[in-house]
């Protein structure tokens, strides 16, 4: 009979993945642990050491390092390490050092293997933690090689090839063949001979020659100026490859000229990026535009989740993830509109399909509602045309629901007649909301202040955004009403043991990170952004404008940005772990799954949000309005 380790057992009962094991198994594990104490700064597991134990942290904090000495992870009470070397039967690859005085429980290799082989949930839990690291290990092997951390400059292999705008297409094509390139910069020789941005007037690609010349049966003797694209979208050489990808997705182009201090230093194509990173959201977007029906679109849900988790493994920040997911969401809407038109026939009058809320802000994650609306041409006649648009809205909305974007519970969807109106009516809506505001009326329409056109006449969306910008800035009553609504959702005070601590002392078991964290920050930033007339929609970009406008006390803007990033990443990582564990991802987090490190930082982030809300109250005086 072994002596019962009541303290150890008690500890295991409180922590996953042990808490899911039966009492009998747990008792056996607890009774056989070894205990070791490590003083702060001392090495626990050196690189290359053989390892035959699984380490569970009883108290204290440890740091896990990569081989190159960079910090990889920080773990606290209830976290564990060493499983990777046990699973692979390899020496330690991630050395571990105590950051604070640390007490660990060591579980023998045989016991670990027994648990891993016999208890699926245990294995899943440990493996998810571990896979994250394994994958990071493989993707991070050559640091700086990732789509997310590499700069555009690394894709450039040669200087851009240029031709004068008077060159014939045939000459240009010969030049392209000689140089083995798929695109050329076009220069206006009167403005200069070199490829500085002042003299470059356009770009010609393989595709232009095919679709604008050959397909139309034009002569190859015409000048390249006649078939070139002139609305040039540039990317800076010091931007991330990811930014280039986002530009291509957003503007639907396949080539981007690269600038460095106003000089053209190269041209990159979508193939350069695809070659660079074979599994990314560009592929998903491509599959979306190739899908032939809603069934095929719905089948892509897993690809979307895969691309989401991959980005997290690649250490993408929340802005990158949010904008990639929004680009994917936008592609779904665009393809569904196209499919709807194919089924219903050409639209009787022009229209614009809108994205609202997180998609418009470029902050979409996996769990998201579809918030959308339709702007119709002013010539719209309800009796004649509404059947068509109602059918189109329903088609898109049902399609989105099947692709994982649940119906909006507030019924803010184009299938709702209120949100399927001509441009003139939309202008009236916004004028009314801004000129005669009430907190009540803005409660449900706040979401329309993040708006983006995704299909059709997207310039109408720009027009509405301009209207908002021109009228909202100076209207203090409107800003007061918006800030009043932005104060409805507040962060919790912090954590106590495994509970969420509310400001009034109540405790709850879980916290909705969207409702209590990212959403109140987005709401708050929107109010300031409207006040300073920012053109940006993304919360991080709005924050930059707000900081520049100088309306926040010094340093607060940056604090808020860090707080948003941290809360968003906790939320994102939680969704990834849900996906990995084959659970339906959600926005709820139970504090017991948070490490000490996360708790501390979350608490701080909540405090920053809280003080930002107090400041907003002071600045916009929401108490004056009703």
């Amino acid at each position: 009979m072994q002596a019962e380790q009541s303290e150890v057992l008690d500890f295991f009962r409180r922590h996953s993945p042990f808490s899911d094991l039966s009492e009998e198994v747990l008792t056996n594990v607890a009774n056989n642990v070894e205990i070791a104490y490590f003083r702060a700064q001392s090495t626990i597991l050196p690189l290359g050491q053989d390892n035959h134990h699984w380490y569970v942290i009883r108290s204290g904090v440890v740091e896990v390092f990569r081989r190159d000495g960079k910090l990889y992870n920080r773990l606290g009470e209830g976290d564990f390490f060493g499983e990777q070397s046990l699973m692979l039967s390899r020496p330690i690859r991630f050395p571990v050092t105590a950051l604070e005085d640390t007490l660990v429980y060591l579980i023998g290799e045989e016991t670990f293997n027994y648990l891993f082989d016999n208890f699926e949930h245990f294995a899943d839990y440990v493996e998810v933690e571990d896979l994250t690291r394994l994958r990071q290990f493989t993707t991070k092997r050559e640091d700086g090689d990732s789509l997310l951390t590499a700069k555009v400059a690394t894709l450039i292999t040669s200087l851009p090839v240029s031709v004068s705008c008077t060159t014939t297409v045939q000459r240009a094509a010969i030049r392209m063949t000689e140089e083995n390139v798929s695109s050329l910069l076009v220069i206006d020789s009167e403005k200069g001979q070199d490829v500085s941005s002042g003299s470059v007037v356009g770009i010609v690609t393989d595709l232009d020659i095919r679709s604008r010349l050959v397909a139309k049966g034009l002569s190859t003797d015409i000048a390249v100026a006649d078939i070139m694209s002139t609305d040039l979208i540039y990317v800076q050489s010091n931007h991330f490859v990811f930014d280039a990808m986002m530009l291509m997705l957003k503007h639907n182009v396949q080539h981007l000229p690269v600038l460095k201090k106003e000089q053209h230093i190269g041209l990159i194509s979508h193939l350069d990026i695809l070659r660079y990173e074979s599994q990314n959201s560009l592929f998903v977007v491509r599959s979306i535009s190739n899908a032939q029906n809603v069934d095929e679109l719905a089948a892509l849900k897993q690809e979307v989740e895969g691309s989401f988790t991959r980005m997290v493994y690649q250490d993408a920040n929340s802005k990158m993830i949010g904008s990639a997911m929004a680009a994917i969401g936008r592609s779904f809407k665009q393809r569904l509109c196209e499919l709807a038109e194919a089924e219903l026939g050409a639209p009787p009058v022009p229209y614009c399909f809108l994205a609202l809320g997180s998609m418009a802000r470029g902050e979409q994650l996996i769990v998201t509602d579809q918030d959308n609306a339709l702007i119709l041409d002013n010539s719209f006649e309800p009796k004649l045309h509404d059947d068509y648009f109602k059918a189109l809205a329903t088609f898109v909305s049902d399609g989105l629901a099947r692709c994982g974007y649940s119906y909006c519970t507030g019924n803010i969807m184009a299938s709702n007649i209120h949100w399927r109106q001509p441009l003139a009516v939309w202008r009236q809506y916004f004028t009314e909301w801004i000129q005669k505001p009430s907190a009540e009326s803005l409660l449900h329409s706040g979401i329309f202040f993040d708006l983006e056109g995704v299909w059709g006449q997207i310039n109408w969306a720009k027009e509405l955004n301009q209207l908002i910008r021109q009228t909202a800035t100076k209207n203090s009553r409107f800003l007061a009403c918006m800030s009043r609504n932005a104060l409805l959702r507040t962060p919790p005070l912090g954590f106590f043991k495994d509970f969420v601590m509310e400001t009034d002392g109540r405790q709850s078991n879980s916290i909705n990170m969207k409702r209590r964290g990212t959403a109140p920050i987005a709401d708050l930033v929107r109010v300031h952004a409207l006040a300073v007339g920012s053109q940006a929609r993304n919360t991080f970009e709005r924050l930059e404008d707000i900081i520049e406008a100088g309306i926040l006390p010094p340093g607060r803007g940056l604090d808020l940005r860090d707080a948003l990033e941290f809360i968003a990443m906790v939320r994102i990582r939680n969704q990834v772990s849900d996906i990995e564990l084959k659970r339906e991802p959600d926005n709820n987090i139970e504090p017991e799954y948070l490490s000490d490190f996360e708790r501390k930082n979350l608490k701080e982030a909540f405090q920053i949000l809280s003080s930002a809300q107090r400041y907003m109250k002071f600045r916009y005086q929401p108490g004056r309005v009703n």
């Binding site: 072994q2 009541s6 150890v8 009774n31 205990i35 070791a36 005085d101």
Partner: protein, 250 residues
């Protein structure tokens, strides 16, 4: 571990005069010859590590008794917890925990402290039943305890009572170590000048200084483990691991 009040501790200090035994190997060799009881003889015959053994290589066993009171001549052991250890590992898988029938009645005051009630000891084995196993567990190892005079004197008294021969063995006392390192004279003078209490060297207070976790439960085994963890923390904090064991045993 028995929790001693301040006044009691002062009295204990007078009666429990420390006897420095430096040549433990020689002492064990001679006791092995005179000892009659087989498992006690075996205990001495196993011998003891040399005084120069570095801490890193010392086989140890953390030991804790709960007792009916503080006087070994009148009170007796109620429970025993022990866990084998070294400076780097505490091996819970080899730990032991016994409740034994005390010779004397349980004082109600001590019941409050260690939570062992009359009904719990009614079915417990007599101390004589665990002597052989206990001595086997201690054999070849250095005993570690917090306020070791309790364990040392109660074990001696119990063996005298049952075997008519006592026991001598070296101990490492975590409370004495704590007194040495956390109650430096200059610090204590400052504390008293500032009107503060002396630095507490009770087990739980000592553990806090090394950021060891707070343990809710108290029984002889959890206290033995708590003491074992404290010794590891003390050694890596204050001593080098090649320090000879003679520096901390007595």
């Amino acid at each position: 571990m028995f929790y001693i009040g301040k006044n009691q501790l002062a009295r204990q200090g007078q009666t429990l005069a420390k006897t420095k035994q430096l040549d433990w190997s020689g002492r064990f060799a001679s006791l092995a010859k005179t000892s009659k009881y087989p498992s006690l003889k075996a205990f001495y015959q196993q011998g003891v590590i040399s005084a120069s053994t570095p801490l890193l290589d010392v086989p140890m066993v953390a030991l804790d008794f709960e007792t009916t009171g503080l006087d070994p001549s009148r009170d007796s052991i109620v429970s025993i917890g022990l866990v084998p250890m070294s400076i780097s590992r505490i091996r819970c898988g080899e730990s032991k925990h016994w409740i034994v029938k005390p010779k004397t009645n349980l004082h109600s005051a001590s019941v409050v402290v260690h939570g062992i009630t009359h009904s719990a000891v009614a079915d417990a084995p007599d101390f004589s039943n665990v002597i052989d196993t206990l001595l086997g567990c201690l054999r070849g190892k250095i005993v570690v305890a917090h306020h070791a005079p309790i364990e040392r004197r109660f074990l001696h008294a119990a063996l005298m009572r049952h075997l008519q021969e006592g026991i001598e063995f070296p101990v490492i006392d975590t409370m004495a170590i704590e007194a040495q390192f956390s109650r430096r004279k200059s610090q204590e003078i400052w504390r008293s000048l500032l009107g503060r209490q002396r630095t507490s060297i009770r087990l739980s207070d000592s553990r806090t200084r090394y950021h060891l976790p707070y343990y809710r439960q108290h029984n002889a085994l959890t206290d033995a483990i708590a003491c074992a963890e404290l010794l590891q923390a003390q050694c890596v904090t204050h001593l080098s691991l090649d320090t000879p064991v003679s520096a901390i045993w007595s």
